[in-house]
Structure formats: C-alpha cells, structure tokens
C-alpha cells in the first residue's frame, strides 16, 4: 500500500481473473442437460459430478480464501492455538464417511435439493425445516462477506482500491463482484466447479513454492521457529500475559480439542458443503472423496507454517489478516506475487459462488416453495433461485462495504455455533426416527439461544464480545461454546422427546423408508425417480 501500485503483480492478477471470468461463462455449456431450467441443473450441476470434479469442487468450496488468510493469521497472532484447523480437518472426514452417503442416497431417491428438504420429508415438519433453512442462510451470508474481505485484503496490498473517495476505493471490489454475480447467474454450480480447477492448481503451486522458497530465504525452519518462540514469549505490558505459545499449554487443551471436534461436526452441515455433496453422482464418489480430500488438510498445515514465517520475516501489520499477503509481497518476485494473489482472489470467488447458490436453494425450496408458492414449477424454482443468489450476494456486499470487518468475522463465528445446532435433526434424522419433531425444534431453540448468549458474553482477543471459548458448565475447563450448546441441545431433545411421546403428541409423517438411506444410483427405483432434467445429463467420469 505504502509503495504504490505493484504493476507487474497487478497485471498477472488481472490476467488470471480474466481467464476465470471466461471460464465462468463457458461453464454453462459444460456437461449441460437438454432441459436446463430446473434447480437440479442450475443449483446442483445436474447431480452428475464424478470423483475428481467433486474433489476440486469440495476443495474449492471448503478451503476458502478466508481460510488461507485467516489460519496463518491466527498462527501469526497467537501460535499453537490457531493450528486446531488441522485436527479439525482430520476429524471431519471420518464423520463425513459415516453420515453423508446416507444423506446422498435419501436425497437422490426423493429429489431433495437441500438438507432442509430432507428434514421436512423425514419429520413431516415444515416448521423444523424452516428453522434449519434460516440457520443455514444466516450462517452462510457472513461467510460470503468474508470471501469479499479476502479479495479486499489482496487488493489492499496490491495498492489498488486505496483511492480517496469511496467509489474509487471500492471500484475493484465492485467489478470483481459484478463478474461473479453474472456468471453464477448464467451458469449455476457449473461455474465454480470449472473455475475450481484453476483455483486449486494455483493454490497448490503457490503453497509448494512458498513452503520451500521462503524458509530458504529466512535461514531454515530452526531459525523461523526460534524467532517465533522469542516473539511469542514477549509479555503484553497491559495484561502481563505472553503473546502466544508454540505448543498448546495445559489450560488451553480442552479448548483446542473441543474447537477441533465442534468445527469438524459443523463443516459438512453448511449449506454449501451439502450442495457440493449432492451434486456428485454416486454414494461412493463421496466416500472416495473422504480419502483424497485430506490432501487439502495437509496443504492447510503447511500453509499455517506461513504464520511463523511472517513473524520471522519481521512482518508488522496492524490487521493480522494482511500478514500473509504482505509476506508474499515482501518475499516473492513481483510476477509470482501476482500469481499468489490471483490464487487468493480466485479462491474467494469459487466458495462465494457456491455459498450464494446454496443459500438461494434453501430460500427457494424451504421458504418460497413451502410457504409462498407451493405450486411452483421446476422452471419457476430455478428462476427464483437465480434471483435469490443475486440478492444474497448484494446483501454480502452491503455487509462488507457498510459495516466494520469485525462484524462479518463475529457473525461467521456465530454461524459455526448455529450450524452445530442443526446436527440433532439432520444427522440424528439420518440414523433414527425416534426424535420427536417438536423436541428437535425445542433443542434447536435452546442451543441457538445459549450459544449466541455465551458467545456475546465472552471477550475475544481483540474485543469485549464474540469469543469462541468459555468455561464448560460442570467440567470447569474452557471449551468451544458451540459444542457446549450442542450438548445442551441434545439433552433438551431427548428429554422433550420422552415427554412428548408420553403425552402422545402427534408425530409427523415420515415419507422415507429404511432402504432409501442405502440406495445407490442404478438401484431399482432410483434412476427413474430422478427429476426429468437429470435423466438426459451425460454421466461421464
């Protein structure tokens, strides 16, 4: 920012941005079905993606630009505590392996587009499905906003967008946003699926280069961790506490473990994860993906090392989110800085597109169709969803431009806590029909209220509110609030289910059968029940 615009880096950045823009529009013709006007086509890419496309799509979806900026930034700020992202992404795959194939099967059999569709079908409760849909939309919006923050951080360090009046300042972001909105509108889920190839290729190249090149320049990992250890030992003059630590201290281990477990449970319940999973063409595509997606976790671990490198390189930034972009600019030659920034920028576009599609699908299926226009045709649904995806993105943009960045970060943190409260209905519902629908709603209310209240009451490292760990009642250790709220949620669900069953409260109608949860493509009864638009889709590998 201080030394003006970095011309070479900017040119490389713009080049890659143009490439993916063209790809985004071309994507509408990729693996296109004859009848493209339905949510299965626009919102789920025809449910036709094989193992590798799903791998790129999920990788592009879950390991976002924000992740790439925020994880090393957390390490840069406090050390070991930020590394929980690695056990978190280790633990999510055994969980995925256990429950998502069941969700895929039942959704394929009944034509469910969102996870709330499933909950409505399983428990026969529109109210419960509405509650979960709202949770999903609410948790996704700030996440989209954070992707835009990621692009902003890169543009900041590049030296553009620093103009004096607000319009010039935000113009680059507005352009990026407009392009994103246009190709998502025209190509649907196919656009991020195709762009994800470029995004992931760039990210892998940048990280492999960074993890080899920067330590050589800085004199090896010994020196990097030595410098980081010294920096963390320095005590804050106000609180008298050291800045951070290289290992997770005895009083921080519960927090470390519960954050990893709670986040792992929540990750695949986010609407954008479900959308990507349902777009795959078979049960085993998902299972196979749990064996190849950890490659991204490994990359995330390496990426986290960049936080230590930023300390050793003497990077001093007021906003820790800028630490990694600044490290790249200081270390790399200009042209490669451009490649690295393009990786982060495109890394923001892919998830932003998928998230807006997922939120739009939730709105269309579980609010619009269920409550406003029950007779909506598939074409009409697709149209509503396209418009809703635009609205969601405009909302995120307004969020970023008018409010402080910390608001988006706070909401994203709350989003994680909220999403965890959908586990009993969603994951529980995949395995048992024992829970009562009203009990699930009661548990959800209790978990949401407790989680939000505790998060608000907990000071974080930089402000008085919105911390994510606090004392766990009865255990007396500090742990992730979302997980505590989840336990409370489950207790309420069990107690209320017993009570409601004793009272003989009416149970909803379950439209699913036990065999639906293990059905696979090609099974008798599965193929022909696919929505008509999908029938013509090529099933290429």
């Amino acid at each position: 920012m201080k030394d003006g615009v970095n011309g070479v880096a900017l040119a490389v950045f713009i080049f890659f941005f143009l490439v993916v823009t063209v790809m985004g529009f071309v994507a509408s013709k990729w693996r296109r079905a004859e009848n493209a006007d339905s949510l299965d086509e626009w919102g789920l890419g025809g449910r036709s993606f094989g193992t590798w496309v799903t791998w790129f799509l999920l990788g592009g979806d879950l390991y976002t630009a924000y992740t790439f900026v925020a994880v090393p930034a957390a390490i840069y700020t406090g050390g070991a505590a930020g590394f929980f992202a690695v056990p978190y992404t280790i633990l999510c795959y055994p969980l995925v392996f256990t429950f998502l194939p069941r969700l895929w099967s039942v959704s394929h059999k009944h034509g469910y587009v969102t996870s709330s569709d499933f909950v409505r079908g399983r428990f026969g409760s529109k109210g419960l499905s509405l509650a979960l849909a709202l949770t999903g939309i609410l948790a996704t919006m700030p996440y989209i906003a954070l992707q835009l923050v990621g692009i902003q951080a890169v543009l900041d360090v590049l030296g553009v967008g620093g103009g004096s009046n607000w319009f010039m300042k935000d113009l680059p972001l507005l352009i990026a946003f407009g392009v994103l909105a246009a190709y998502t509108y025209s190509s649907g889920l196919r656009a991020p699926a195709l762009i994800a190839f470029v995004k992931d290729a760039l990210i892998y190249i940048v990280i492999i280069v960074a993890i080899i090149y920067i330590p050589i320049k800085l004199g090896g990992f010994d020196h990097i961790f030595g410098a980081a250890g010294d920096a963390f030992a320095v005590k804050n003059p106000e609180t008298g506490k050291p800045r951070g630590s290289l290992v997770s201290g005895p009083d921080a281990q519960w927090a470390y473990a519960t954050l990893a477990l709670g986040s792992a449970m929540a990750l695949f319940l986010y609407p954008h994860s479900v959308t990507a999973v349902l777009s795959s063409k078979g049960r085993n595509v998902i299972r196979r993906n749990t064996t190849i997606l950890p490659l991204y976790s490994l990359m995330l671990g390496l990426l986290a090392m960049l936080g230590f490198m930023a300390i050793a390189a003497g990077i001093k930034v007021k906003n820790s989110q800028l630490a990694i972009p600044q490290l790249f600019e200081d270390m790399f030659p200009d042209w490669f800085t451009g490649v690295a920034f393009a990786a982060i920028g495109i890394g923001a576009l892919v998830p932003a597109a998928i998230m807006s599609i997922a939120a739009a699908n939730l709105f269309t299926r579980n609010i619009y169709k269920d409550f406003i226009r029950p007779d909506a045709s598939p074409e009409h649904e697709a149209k509503v969803s396209k418009l809703a995806s635009l609205l969601v993105k405009v909302g995120a943009l307004v969020f970023v431009l008018t409010m402080d960045k910390t608001v988006a970060i706070n909401f994203q943190l709350l989003g994680g806590i909220w999403i965890l409260q959908t586990v009993p209905a969603l994951v529980g519902g995949l395995f048992t029909r024992w829970f009562h629908r009203w009990a699930l709603l009661g548990g959800w209310v209790a978990g949401m209220a407790y989680g939000t209240w505790r998060a608000y009451d907990t000071p974080s490292a930089t402000q008085d509110h919105f911390g994510n760990t606090n004392l766990i009642p009865l255990i007396g250790e500090k742990g992730y609030i979302g997980l505590t709220a989840f336990v409370l949620n489950v207790i309420v669900v069990i107690v209320l289910t017993f009570a409601l069953k004793t009272l003989g409260a009416p149970d909803g109608v379950d439209e699913t059968k036990a065999a639906d949860y293990t059905a696979d493509a090609g099974d008798p009864g599965v193929r022909e029940e696919l929505p008509p638009a999908t029938a013509g889709a090529p099933g290429g590998h």
Partner: protein, 95 residues
C-alpha cells in the same frame, strides 16, 4: 425405535441382511482411531523431537493427516466389499 408403519418386503429383506460383521467393526474402529489420537492433545503438546526444525506439535499432527487417510482407505475398502456382498445376496433372493 419408531419405524415407519408400512413396510415393503424389499425393506424387510434389506434389514435382515444388514448384520454387524467383524470387518464392519474393524471399519468402525478405523474411523474412530483419529478421534482418540487428535482429541488427546496432551499426548502431542510438546516441542521435541523436532523434524527439520519443525516442533513435534506441528509435524506430528500433519503426520496424522496421512495416518487417518490410510485408515479411511481401509474402512472404504471394507464397506464397499460389504455393500457389494449385501447387494449380490439381495439380487439372489429376488430372482
């Protein structure tokens, strides 16, 4: 506990064959091991032995990315075999 009131013959068949076998238990254990390893933070919260200058805490957890992946591959192989056998048996019963 509460199953849907009406049951098709096909569903009854699926239920009867969904037995718990030793390989399926092994698959479950494979999926559970990473939880024990990762949630027991005290077991790896130390600096030494370092690997090329990276403290134990970090390289050990990254190593577990690979170990848990291998465990998932084992579970996948077992589960896929199990599903194929179940399907074959059901097809046999139907004909």
């Amino acid at each position: 506990m509460t199953e849907p009131p009406t049951r098709t013959p096909e569903e009854g068949g699926r239920k009867a064959t969904a037995t718990v076998t030793v390989p399926m238990i092994v698959a479950g254990v494979c999926l559970a091991i990473p939880f024990a390893a990762m949630l027991w933070v005290d077991s790896y919260s130390r600096l030494t032995p370092a690997f090329i200058g990276i403290p134990f805490f970090y390289w050990y957890q990254m190593l577990w990315v690979l170990i848990s992946t291998l465990l998932t591959v084992v579970a996948y192989t077992i589960v896929r075999r199990h599903e194929r056998l179940t399907r074959a048996r059901e097809a046999g019963e139907r004909s």
